[in-house]
Symmetry: C2
Subunit: 150 residues, 2 copies
DNA sequence: CAAATAAAGGATATATGGGTCTTTTATTCG
DNA sequence: CGAATAAAAGACCCATATATCCTTTATTTG
């Protein structure tokens, strides 16, 4: 009797790492003091090379900024700080996530719904709109307060 | 520039298949007319052998009933029909899903929250409680109405 | 009982996300 | 300029979800 349970998750690990990294950068970096992938990987306990890949991807999509060389590293410019969380998710996990059917059907909408559609849309959409309204800057500020941790 | 987007999902494919299969059985099987994995796989366009495995797992956990041999197949007994959807999800994807942190942190709760915790708990919990209140029987009945499809 | 049927079960293959390693490019500083 | 530093980029490996195949067990029917 082998009870195999597949792992499932709302956000991919890459995306989770990306969000934590961005918040970390928002909190610890400034234009005069950049943060390296090394330090970030250690603090957040994320595999270094994997994190580098993720930061690359974020940089390419202009969600974080970087410079090479000594004292180089990552930081957020004024535009980056106003990135909304849904953008990061979109870049990492693709645009399909917030539109996808719970049951995995290719066609599922209010005009052609799966049996679960009307039962659960509100949670998917609510989640989406929340992330759409939340900026990196705001999210990072939460960390100051109370017991909030990364 | 390789923009790798990992696919993410709330429910694993196995779980999605499981839910669709159970609803299919609820709608098409009766104690006098069982449904075979073959027919189900074709109708739902799910790989047959993979579906068989899933049905096995559901049967072992007594969420569906089955008999072997000619005219054998799957059906739901009175108890099976009252299974709530969250049970199926739990059996397929494990119990962790509805408790898991969005950011993947091992410790995350209202007393020790991640930055996103209070922003999104309501959607995770709302989703969970919805599935907890919904039975297979009820879900299957939705399919009768309107344009709902599997 | 024998043959046929279909689920149960186990072993194995494939695809993908996750993770590692090495080389190249850009930048800083002595 | 040359050495050191750190990101960018590409190749590669590993674990797991997904998918397939084959054998065994149970049940029905002639």
């Amino acid at each position: 009797m082998t009870t195999t349970q597949s792992e499932s998750h709302v956000l991919s690990k890459s995306c989770q790492y990306a969000l934590r990294a961005v918040v970390y950068v928002a909190r610890h970096a400034s234009s005069s003091h950049l943060i390296g992938a090394q330090e970030m990987a250690e603090s957040l306990e994320i595999p270094k090379h994997f994190l580098s890949k993720i930061l690359q991807q974020l940089t390419r999509n202009q969600l974080v900024s970087s410079t090479k060389g000594p004292h180089g590293g990552f930081y957020l410019n004024d535009v980056n700080e106003l990135t909304t969380i849904d953008r990061i998710v979109e870049v990492m996990d693709g645009p399909g996530l917030f539109k996808a059917c719970v049951l995995g059907l290719p066609e599922c909408s209010s005009t052609h719904p799966c049996p679960l559609h009307f039962e659960v849309v509100e949670y998917r959409d609510g989640f989406y709109h929340k992330l759409k309204r939340l900026t990196v800057k705001e999210l990072a500020q939460f960390v100051h307060k109370g017991q909030i941790h990364l």
